[in-house]
Symmetry: C2
Subunit: 319 residues, 2 copies
């Protein structure tokens, strides 16, 4: 009887894997470095080893395991389990990840977008547990997203749905890496926060962060907020405002039950959540925000692993 | 054997009804005035008469008819078939439309949002025929929307999804009726086009439309475009630009297969579609616009009736 799926979360720095039961518990977890500089074949060897560790980590692991899902950065060819490109993994172009994993571990494998997987994990047993629909925003160097509707990932026509970071909230706004302008990623990613902080300091704004120079990070901004730095607090408030505008748009268009925010900057807690909620009240239709939960990730580091496992359990694309 | 559904499109001015076959053909259609000033009971009497006319209009109509769906302005309580309010229908507050229609015609009835119904009609046998996912924008006094995913209307958590007109593309933009700012409705509805044209004329811009004064309509702007009026052409181009930004956002977030535009202003044809397509190329991710069709309604006046009938056929909310 299969009662386990191995979920893998492939990141630019770390590979996380876990043996996940069909009721969403992580029975065994392991973590290793990605060593992306060694190229795709070596990284997939490390993924395979992490999977084997998980199989060995639970009693009767191999017999109990239905399969594997790797949550991967993208874009992906979901149907064929191919990573088309992965910005943080050198040399990853058209890597047949599914086939490579299957060959190495002898278990059926699927490949899902990492943010989609995290969204599904949160909807299954995390911040959106019990909800039918959920939108996840991952706040990091960029802003990613995942959309779960009727308990399933919404992939879209060409498989690239939920690029929420590239929703423009000002066609005359700052240029974004994607070629567009005023994308929410260009306003509220960690990169954008740092850029805005540097600009404020360069414009003569007093801040304890002035000494950081080129080494300034979003984490520094959060810590300066906690220490009461006014410029940092304003930066965080502005970030929350822009996220609030984007979330209000998501509520008006999709009317999901839960919106989950994940990523390092959520450490800021209410300093970030309060301006988001205030902006949502001002910009979303009452009927579209009524009873909607806007909250932080409940699964934290496990979201990708649990969500990947759930992706395998609910998979319906071309296998 | 049931092989017909009666679809009704309830508008502020007209009631349209049709006997629709299970393969999407309108076997009989009728139209009457709404006479909204007479109040809800009288309007529902007129709806019931239109339904009876449809039943009589096809041979064996009553025996062949599975039920009725009324596409209604909203907001609605979909589960109970109640119209909560309808801005263009005086006195419509908590009107139990479903029960009133069922009582009058003795057939099962459901009530769907009018723009949702039109979206489903276009996806079924219209501009999006054969597509799995479609987003419709209705361009009129306001901007409404409908979202069809996996061949079904996406209603959202509280039933108000697809309020696409209230996607903000500039939190510092013009105030919108909804209380927000920079909503696409405040930039690209017929109302917004007329306001922008008046502002241009007031600012001294030369235009053949200057003589229209308070009577200026979006149709006048379209006609002035055809006649080569430069200010009108710029107005249309700007409208297309804003719609393009909104559609690019929809593609990046939802990645649908088809985007359909309907409403009077689509008479402008390529004058509107070209700036939309150009803006989408500049603002949407390539993978999210690849192979996506952006087009005008194929069903025109029939979309609401056909879509309402299809809503009954695919209904899965609380009955």
């Amino acid at each position: 009887m299969h009662d386990i799926v191995i979920g893998v979360d492939l990141g630019g720095t770390n590979i996380k894997a876990g043996a996940v039961s069909y009721d969403g518990r992580v029975l065994f977890r392991c973590r290793t470095t990605t060593e992306g500089h060694m190229g795709p074949a070596a990284v997939v060897d490390r993924i395979a080893q992490a999977i084997r560790d998980c199989l060995a980590g639970v009693e009767g692991g191999r017999e109990r395991t239905a399969g594997v899902c790797v949550g991967s950065p993208g874009p992906l060819d979901l149907k064929n389990g191919v990573v088309l490109t992965a910005p943080n993994l050198p040399g990853w172009v058209n890597v047949p990840l599914r086939a490579m994993v299957e060959e190495r571990v002898g278990l059926p494998c699927v490949v899902e977008n990492d943010a989609n997987a995290a969204a599904l994990g949160e909807q299954w047993v995390g911040a959106g547990s019990g909800a039918d629909s959920l939108v996840l925003l991952t706040l990091g160097t960029g802003i990613g997203g995942g959309i779960v509707l009727n308990g399933k990932i919404w992939h879209g026509f060409t498989g690239v749905a939920a690029e929420i970071g590239h929703m423009s909230i000002n066609p005359d706004g700052p240029a974004c890496n994607c070629g567009g302008r005023g994308c929410i990623e260009a306003y509220a990613s960690a990169t954008a926060m740092v850029r805005r902080m540097r600009e404020a300091i360069a414009a003569g704004r007093h801040s304890s962060l002035a000494s950081k120079g080129e080494k300034l990070t979003a984490r520094d901004i959060y810590e300066a907020c906690v220490a009461g730095d006014q410029a940092a607090l304003e930066n965080m408030h502005t970030t929350g405002f822009y996220l609030g505008v984007a979330i209000a748009n998501i509520l008006n268009v999709l009317n999901p039950e839960v919106v989950v925010l994940s990523g390092g900057v959520t450490a800021a807690g209410d300093l970030l959540l309060r301006p988001i909620q205030q902006t949502v009240r001002e910009h979303a239709l009452e009927a579209a925000r009524e009873g909607v939960r806007i909250c932080f990730s409940a699964l934290g580091d496990d979201a990708g692993v649990i969500g990947a496992a759930r992706s395998f359990m609910t998979w319906d694309i071309g296998r």
